[in-house]
């Protein structure tokens, strides 16, 4: 299982417009192209998770995640806000890179935890933050995922 398998160009936004945590979450959810009601429920669930403790793990990276009935398979998205936004991250720093992960309540293949783990691992790579800041196209993001999987 590789992270690259779960992403495609439509799931990547390198210039998020949002200025607040809520705006950013909504923009990330929009990348999944769900119907309006499902988006609203997913937003509430992600907010619930953030209220338990920010998913901003430091170094400018956040990994909002939850399980929800509104998706029928594991979904991911990546967003970048070059100037950063206050996400109440663990280190208090603004967050610039966002990995969204949403999984259905019951998955046959149980990918949620491994994907969450892989993204957390990817985010810890000392090289990654600099590279994520530099990429100019979604394809370059996909290439970075592939490269780091090797």
């Amino acid at each position: 299982m590789e992270l690259r398998e779960f992403f495609n160009r439509d799931l990547i936004n390198l210039n998020l417009a949002g200025e607040s945590k809520d705006d950013i979450l909504r923009e990330l959810i929009a990348l999944l192209a769900l119907d309006e009601k499902s988006q609203a429920i997913l937003f509430k669930m992600l907010k619930r998770r953030e209220n338990l403790g920010s998913t901003g793990i430091g170094r400018g990276i956040a990994i909002p995640h939850c399980r929800s009935l509104v998706v029928n398979r594991l979904r991911v998205a990546f967003g970048r806000k070059p100037e950063g936004v206050d996400f109440k991250a663990i280190d208090g720093q603004p967050v610039r890179f966002f990995f969204l992960i949403v999984a259905p309540p019951l998955e046959v293949s149980n990918q949620y935890l491994p994907v969450l783990g892989k993204i957390a691992q990817f985010a810890k790579d000392p090289d990654v933050v600099g590279r994520l800041a530099e990429i100019e196209t979604p394809d370059q993001f996909l290439a970075l995922l592939e490269q780091k999987a090797d």
């Binding site: 009601k37 429920i41 509430k44 669930m45 619930r48 998770r49 209220n51 338990l52 403790g53 920010s54 998913t55 793990i57 990994i63 939850c66 399980r67 929800s68 009935l69 509104v70 029928n72 663990i90 259905p104 309540p105 019951l106 949620y112 935890l113 969450l116 783990g117 957390a120």
Partner: protein, 115 residues
């Protein structure tokens, strides 16, 4: 979407998060170590929210919810015309009724049409 279904969905989703924190040993460790959350506090918080959402159900739907709840999942998705609570086909005559609060004729679960 039926407003009560919206609440039921949220209850079910909140319980998925709770179950994972309580029963998923690896998941719990990840939440603690990577995201620094206090699991005990988080579970308490989720319980409060679940109770709050349950209180927002009408008495009839709440009692139905509690009845089904002991046997299986109270809210299940319908994918490609199949109830994912009991894996039987849901008649298209019922899935076409948008805005109605649907239940499965076989397992009784509340249905959320995903397709």
């Amino acid at each position: 979407m039926h407003p009560q279904l919206e609440i039921l969905l949220q209850i079910q989703d909140l319980r998925s998060q709770r179950r994972e924190l309580v029963e998923g040993e690896h998941f719990r460790r990840m939440e603690e170590e990577e995201f620094h959350i206090n699991v005990e506090e988080a579970v308490r918080d989720l319980d409060e929210k679940i109770a709050e959402m349950k209180a927002a159900l009408t008495p009839a739907i709440r009692s139905r919810f509690e009845r089904i709840d002991g046997r299986g999942r109270a809210v299940v998705p319908v994918l490609n015309g199949t109830c994912y609570g009991c894996f039987t086909a849901v008649p298209t005559s019922s899935t076409g009724r948008h805005g109605a609060l649907l239940t499965c004729e076989h397992c009784g679960s509340f249905l959320y049409i995903l397709d």
